[in-house]
């Protein structure tokens, strides 16, 4: 039994690693994903492109502009003195934020009269606009308070965003859950469907190989590759993005193994549905997209309509996300994560068993 599985695993690895596109998918795509999600898909708002119109031209107004520039949140592009040049810039999306300092600003400030600064914000992306507004407030508040102790500016500052929680820290561990799912779905279903498409499955079925051996032999290679990818993403996260891993790596590995039960099971299931490799890829993405949306990967589950919230309980990604983020960022251990682990195991066990049964039926 072990001998046949061993030969099947070796064969699968040769096929996977000899195919250039597959190699790229297995080892380069994960790295690209980490970088894309680590840098691009971040909710952090940095270097908001900003235009300043300074009518006052005083040392005070220049100080305010300097504060905006040095805060790191704003990249001040132009220092215009003409009001009417500004609107087109906003319209065309050339700038997100316009700060206008009126004439007489410094004079009023010196006299202790409340002085005003006008801020125009492009609200198309409401999230970014909100966060940037928060930054404006905090910059102005800092400027206002050390001078004379009372807040002279009319702004009331609220903290909209916690600048210490970088979204990289939140996103990169999440990438592990996506990579593991995508890799196991694609590799498992494709390797089985390819054999059916080419006709080699028939040759396998006349050998004394048992369905169980076939299932084990077909799922070990994607499982090992997923472990490799998990370690790869962790290393990039630790050393490139300086993301802390506060919990136990061994626990992470154990949870990945539990998570794999579900993802490999789903891959197996897709292999029973798809007739061609293309169909397998399509089915994978048809499953993958909603699975991400209903996982809490990008948007909090609490914000979803009730029905969808219930649906997330059937999504293995949901539990694994809580686990990876908990291990990486909060240093959670088994004592805290055990409910998620138990649910993940239960779900994985069900999915894998059902898929195996279907797979065996499909063979005959």
């Amino acid at each position: 039994m072990g001998e046949r599985i061993r030969h099947l695993v070796i064969k699968e690895f040769i096929q996977l690693l000899r195919d250039r596109r597959m190699r790229a998918f297995l080892f380069i795509v994960p790295v690209i994903q980490v970088f894309v999600l680590g840098y691009a898909a971040t909710f952090d708002v940095n270097s908001v492109s900003t235009v300043v119109i300074d009518f006052d031209r005083s040392s005070e107004s220049r100080e305010i502009i300097r504060r905006f520039t040095s805060s790191g949140y704003f990249s001040v592009k132009a220092n215009l003195t003409e009001d009417r040049e500004v609107i087109p810039l906003l319209d065309k999306g050339k700038t997100l934020c316009v700060i206008e300092i009126e004439k007489g600003f410094s004079e009023r400030l010196r006299k202790g009269i409340p002085s005003e600064i006008q801020v125009l914000m492009d609200g198309t992306d409401s999230n970014t606009a909100m966060i940037a507004t928060g930054y404006v407030h905090s910059v102005l508040k800092k400027y206002g308070s050390p001078k004379g102790g009372t807040d002279k500016s009319p702004f009331r500052t609220r903290i909209w965003y916690n600048p210490d929680l970088r979204s990289k820290n939140y996103m990169v561990p999440g990438v592990i859950s996506l990579i593991v799912m995508l890799t196991s779905l694609i590799v498992t279903s494709m390797s089985i469907v390819r054999e059916r498409e080419v006709g080699t499955i028939e040759q396998l079925m006349v050998t004394p190989i048992k369905p169980v051996e076939l299932i084990v032999g077909k799922t070990i290679p994607p499982a090992l590759i997923c472990f490799f990818d998990m370690i790869l993403v962790t290393i990039v996260g630790l050393f490139w993005f300086n993301i802390p891993i506060r919990g136990s790596f061994l626990l992470l590995a154990l949870c990945t193994a539990i998570y794999l039960l579900s993802t490999l099971g789903i891959g197996l299931f897709i292999s029973t549905l798809a007739k061609t490799q293309q169909q397998a890829i399509m089915a994978t993405f048809l499953f993958f997209q909603p699975a991400i949306l209903l996982s809490g990967f990008a948007t909090p589950i609490e914000n979803m309509p009730q029905v969808f919230q219930y649906l997330t309980y059937l999504n293995p990604l949901r539990y694994f996300l809580v686990i990876v983020r908990g291990i990486f960022l909060k240093g959670n251990g088994f004592d805290i994560l055990w409910t998620e682990m138990a649910m993940l195991f239960l779900l994985g066990f069900l999915i894998f068993t059902l898929s195996s049964v279907r797979f065996r039926k499909r063979l005959n």
């Binding site: 001998e3 046949r4 064969k11 000899r18 006709g199 080699t200 028939e202 040759q203 006349v206 004394p208």
Partner: protein
Amino acid sequence: MVDEYAVEIKGLTKKFGDFTAVDRIDLKVRRGEIFGFLGPNGAGKSTTIKMLCGLIMPSSGSGTVGGFDIWTEPEEIKMNIGYMSQRFSLYEELTVMENIDFFSGIYNVPRNKKKQRKAWVLNMAQIEEKKDHPVKTLAGGLKQRLALGCAILHEPPIIFLDEPTSGVDPLSRRNFWRLIEEMAGEGKTVFVTTHYMDEADNCHRLVLIHRGKIIAEGTPSELRSSYMKFDIAELLVDQPFVAMDILRDAGLEASLHGETVHVSLESYESCQDEIGRILKNAGLTIKGIEKVPPSLEDVFVTLVEGRE
């Protein structure tokens, strides 16, 4: 204990929905025999073989392969058969040696025999110097011999070959049949399907199947003499296609044989002149006409057309 028959089936039937692909087939294959299973496209040859190999379940009927029941002992059957499917089923991106390694592992070839069996395949397929080449780079004839080698690494006593020579050049086909004869010489049973009627003459016994039903069986010479009540005239003409159509329109049974046209006649002597007349009226000249012994193809054409 030792059966006389390697394969024995009774009333074997396979239905796909309403369609009956194999219809109550009975047949017996003796041990050590080269058994030819012939039939036109869609006759049910592959379906029958797949039922015997345990790849699909019959709808009804019974059968044994190597003395094991096809319903209840598929695992035992698998240990005793080699099967080469109609589509070449090697792993194209793996090298020759990797394919051989893989199948010897899957078939559990005993450790002490492995080396010898692998060498045997390389030698049999005459593929020694290509052993590190990916299979996809091999010519059809080599692939086909390698596929055979991989299918019989475990030295099964019964071998099923489903159109092993389709799409292969004539020289490779002849070589392949030599291999089949060698295996039969060693006492192995070979159950082979083919489209090529010239190959059928290499078989010890034949069964003709048409639309899921057996329409004739016997040795090649039995088939020739007992099913062929007609004489065969072989015509050499400039436009064999046109000639065939004209003769068919005239109500005769005509078929193409390479460059020539074969016509089956009640009696060659009495009909010879009439053929000449029909073709001359149509403006064709006959370059030659002679009476030939019926080939298996003639027998086959006659039998199948008689059923249409």
